[in-house]
């Protein structure tokens, strides 16, 4: 039964993202070549590449969760506030003298809990995802303020920075390897496991998926909670990258994550998109960010560049395959 449902959407799903992925690879190559040349080699310096990989990993990890959420036809715009709140809660534990081993689960549980709140509002409360998470975006940020007051938390254990960011395995910072591992696992899971296939079926046609015996509520719940969990982990990594929590930690972060996912070809109407696309989308977003710094362009151009890239990339592909109205 399940195979029959999955059979139909398979062919177009696999063909289109390949075109997108090729396009992204070319874009990435052009960007890297251009920035490499005009930055007089600064791009290829060890320190810049390390920074690029660490930032990419921190965006990529929640982007994996966001890809699944968007595949189910949803969205979560509260991820940045969630990262800030998780960092504030975990950071408070560090400040209270908790050990790293005791605090890591706090990060993960806090993230998963906030994801669960979003999931319940969307699934049980029947609030459209963008509206529910726009609400929690401001609520979570308010709680960050309540937790931190006007203080900064700086008592972050240095071991975080050493293990995740400074140490290298196979020429890559450890976070980058972890992120790559997550992408591979998520990609295989989506492609070869039953629940993974159900995510696509759900995004393609929720009613048909329901009739085929899939429970959309469970998959959506798992998707939002997983995004929260990954965001909690990203909060831990963020503190490894810059060991400080303040009330603005994570603001603006969600825009990068969503940009990476939609640039990677995941369609907001659900059911189409791949982890490989998200990986490439993340790299494009981060290389643009890096290039603007290296080429001494006013950092304000960053938003303009991202906005234009998103509109162009999605606009071109959605016009090509738009059916009906």
């Amino acid at each position: 039964m399940s195979a029959a449902v999955m059979g139909a959407p398979k062919v177009p799903r696999l063909r289109l993202p390949q075109g997108r992925e090729a396009l992204l690879l070319i874009t990435l190559a052009v960007l890297v070549a251009g920035i490499g040349m005009f930055s007089h080699g600064a791009f290829w310096s060890r320190i810049n590449l390390d920074n690029l990989f660490v930032s990419s990993a921190i965006t990529l990890i929640p982007a994996i969760g966001m890809t699944v959420v968007i595949l189910t036809g949803g969205i979560d715009v509260s991820t940045g506030s969630m990262l800030g709140l998780t960092a504030a809660i975990g950071g408070s534990c560090f400040a209270a003298g908790w050990s790293l081993a005791a605090t890591v689960p706090v990060f993960l549980l806090a993230g998963a809990g906030l994801g669960l709140v979003n999931a319940v509002l969307i699934i049980k409360g029947k609030i459209p995802p963008v509206i529910a998470t726009l609400g929690t975006l401001s609520i979570y940020r308010m709680i960050v303020f309540i937790v931190l007051g006007s203080n900064w938390i700086t008592q972050i254990p240095p071991v975080l920075t050493r293990v995740f960011v400074v140490d290298h395995v196979l020429w890559l910072p450890v976070v980058a390897l972890i992120a790559l591992g997550f992408v591979i696992v998520a990609s295989l899971y989506l492609r070869y496991f039953r629940w993974g296939r159900h995510v696509y079926a759900l995004g393609n046609n929720e009613e048909a998926a329901r009739l085929a015996g899939i429970r959309p509520e469970r998959i959506k719940l798992a998707a939002y909670v997983m995004l929260g969990l990954l965001t909690g982990f990203a909060a831990l990594l963020t503190l490894g990258q810059s060991p400080m929590v303040q009330t603005s930690t994570g603001s603006g972060f969600v825009l990068q994550v969503i940009a990476a996912v939609v640039l990677g070809g995941t369609s907001l109407s659900g059911g189409r998109g791949t982890m490989a696309g998200t990986l490439l989308g993340t790299l494009v977003v981060q290389v643009v960010d890096d290039g603007i710094v290296l080429l001494h362009i006013q950092p304000f151009w960053n938003g303009v560049a991202l906005g234009v890239i998103i509109l162009a990339a999605i606009g071109l592909s959605s016009r090509r395959d738009a059916g009906g109205m």
Partner: protein, 322 residues
């Protein structure tokens, strides 16, 4: 469904909420019930209220219609206006050019949604990036001082008419009347409702669904621009980040005002009443020295709370009238 889709119990509910909110703040600070404070509430409410008028049209047009870029448009409009005024362009011309630019920004949203067929959330998130970035680029990231400009210009945000704020009497109320007429008294309004209720039926009936929705985004860009201009005149400053929370607040107002988030229902009249409630809440919080982060948080709670209460009620009514 009633043609206007307007829920008649909503005004009573909103009036009760306004009174309750006022009473709540008055317990902490009785002097909030003064003429000067009501005046300040009106001044605040007018700007976000205008944006909410445009947002009402966008949301009621259906197809997950939403404009997240309204705040960025308001900020960019302020910066464009500020740059023009500093280039010694006469203020009426500068205002006119800014309004034109605002129409253009709304038109970009409209094209992204209807011609490029990008989902409204993503399209307006992308333009939010773009417009906010442009505002920073054009301003160099700093505020532009406008206090030395013509007093006629500053009167747009500081003037008085009949003892009341100029922008309330001369800008907001006429705009509200125009939008109410547009929505309830013209073919465009009826066509937009039909599009929001069932776009396939609307298309089959020969309506140009894309153009109807596109026009809503253009009008929304226009109201955000007017709000930006009024804000710049009120504070005598053009700020690139002027409209930071405007998307959240305007959407909260629209939802509170009874416009269904799935399109096809609601009225700018409900939006106007909800603006009063939000203006009281927002002003009351800042009057009690709460950080703006709390204002956004409380409005987030209201937004979610309203829908959580409303959804079961709507489901109950649907069962009852079946």
């Amino acid at each position: 469904m009633h043609a206007s889709g307007f829920d008649r119990t909503r005004p009573l509910l909103l009036a009760a909420m306004a009174v309750l909110a006022l009473a709540g703040f008055a317990i902490g600070h009785p002097d909030i019930l003064s003429g000067a404070n009501f005046d300040s509430m009106a001044v605040f409410g007018v700007e976000i209220g205008m944006i909410a008028l445009g947002q009402t049209l966008v949301i009621s047009g259906g197809d997950s219609g939403i404009d997240l870029s309204v705040g960025a448009i308001a900020g960019l409009a302020q910066v464009v206006l500020g740059r023009l005024l500093h280039a010694d362009v006469a203020w009426p011309l500068a205002v006119a050019v800014t309004l034109g630019a605002g129409l253009g920004l709304g038109a970009i949203n409209a094209l992204a949604v209807t011609w490029l067929r990008i989902a409204p959330i993503i399209a307006t998130l992308a333009t939010l990036f773009g417009y906010a970035g442009l505002a920073l680029v054009l301003s160099g990231g700093t505020n532009i001082d406008l206090t030395q400009q013509s007093s006629w210009f500053l009167a747009l945000g500081q003037g008085r008419v009949l003892g009341l704020p100029f922008q309330l009497i001369a800008l907001y109320l006429p705009l509200l009347a125009m939008f109410a007429f547009l929505q309830h008294g013209t073919g465009y309004g009826r066509a937009l409702y039909l599009t929001g209720t069932n776009d396939r039926a609307a298309a089959l009936a020969g309506l140009r669904v894309g153009r109807l929705r596109g026009a809503a985004y253009v009008l929304c860009g226009l109201t955000a621009t007017i709000a930006g201009i009024v804000g710049a005149a009120r504070l005598g400053t053009a700020r690139p980040d002027a409209g930071m929370n405007d998307n959240l607040i305007s959407i909260a107002i629209v939802v509170l005002g009874g416009t269904g988030i799935f399109g096809g229902t609601g009225s700018v009249v409900g939006t106007a009443l909800a603006t009063v409630v939000i203006a009281i809440v927002d002003y009351g919080l800042s009057y009690n020295d709460f950080n703006p982060i709390y204002q956004a948080g409380v409005i987030g709670v209201i937004l979610i709370g309203v829908i959580l209460v409303e959804n079961p009620v709507l489901a109950w009514r649907a069962r009852r009238f079946k």
